[in-house]
């Protein structure tokens, strides 16, 4: 009890430290959600666009006709699918073209082995490096009886009516 001035300095120092620590703690705990947030909006926009395009390709233009998507898949016409898909999703209302690229796989079930297999429908073009933040859009297609089976379809794929899944990877180059 010689001089208590030093004790008060200590106390104020501790108080300042507590305030700053508390602030830092709250700040860190709230902003931690931020980390991946910024990439989600373009992802959402692309995914919605991809789903829209597949859904519209699957909507026949007149009642009772086969949709463009089903025709492309059942005739294994990957080039036609690619150009139609890109013409739909690169169109803008200003008339300029967007710069989206795609690749597509088709997943089917081998009924004999009860195995899920896939085969490439549209190969990625040269803008694909593997580092793009690509999004995936999928669509079910029910194929009629394939007779004969189009060239390029894998051998273990059935020719009977079947449901296959078209998976499209979509990215902005």
């Amino acid at each position: 009890m010689v001089n208590d001035a030093g004790q008060l300095y200590t106390m104020e120092g501790v108080a300042a430290g507590v305030i700053m620590l508390l602030a830092a703690y709250i700040v860190v705990s709230t902003t931690s959600i931020y980390t991946t947030g910024d990439t989600h909006i373009p992802d959402m926009q692309l995914e919605q666009l991809g789903s829209d395009v597949l859904a519209m390709m699957d909507a026949p233009n007149t009642n009772g006709t086969t949709s463009a998507l089903e025709t492309f898949v059942s005739t294994n016409n990957g080039t036609g699918f690619n150009s139609t898909f890109l013409s739909y999703c690169n169109a803008t209302t200003r008339g300029t073209l967007d710069n989206l690229h795609m690749s597509a796989n088709i997943t089917y079930r081998d009924a004999n082995a009860n195995k899920i297999n896939e085969y490439p429908f549209v190969a990625p073009d040269n803008t694909w490096t593997g580092r793009e933040s690509a999004v995936r859009a999928t669509r079910w297609v029910q194929l009629p009886k394939l007779s004969p089976k189009p060239v390029g379809m894998p051998g273990d794929m059935r020719t009977d009516p079947q449901a296959v899944l078209v998976e499209v990877l979509l990215w902005r180059a």
Partner: protein, 127 residues
């Protein structure tokens, strides 16, 4: 402890200033990111397009079912169920009952169940 020594209070004041500054910086960054992020994530997380697509696939299946033999029907059902599980991580089940009279029209009750671990969707639709 005779009387209060006020010389040290600037330390507390400094601490406060730093804390408040930190808070405002954090708030501005955080709030702006939070809104856009939750909306985009909400849209991505909820598989609206997947469920819509599944419904249409089931309706296509019901449409086509009449022209198929029982083995083909079971095969298509298996296609949808196993590929859903493998490629979309979603447990899917569906079935259609015998047609019923719904206000003058003969419609089939079609059951659709979808569960991807986050979203569960069940529906009985008369088709």
């Amino acid at each position: 402890m005779a009387r209060m020594n006020e010389e040290g209070q600037w330390i507390v004041l400094m601490g406060l200033l730093v804390a408040v500054a930190l808070f405002f910086l954090a708030l501005i960054i955080n709030q702006s990111a939070l809104v856009g992020q939750t909306t985009a994530e909400g849209v991505l997380e909820f598989p609206k397009n997947d469920i819509r697509d599944l419904r249409e696939a089931v309706f296509d299946y019901v449409d086509a079912a009449g022209a198929l033999d029982p083995i083909e029907r079971v095969d298509i059902e298996k296609d949808i169920i196993t590929i859903s599980l493998e490629r979309k991580n979603a447990v899917v089940q569906f079935g259609n009952g015998t047609p019923q009279d719904v206000s003058g029209r003969w419609l089939r009750p079609v059951d659709i169940h979808y569960n991807n671990g986050v979203t569960v969707y069940n529906e009985t639709v008369y088709y």
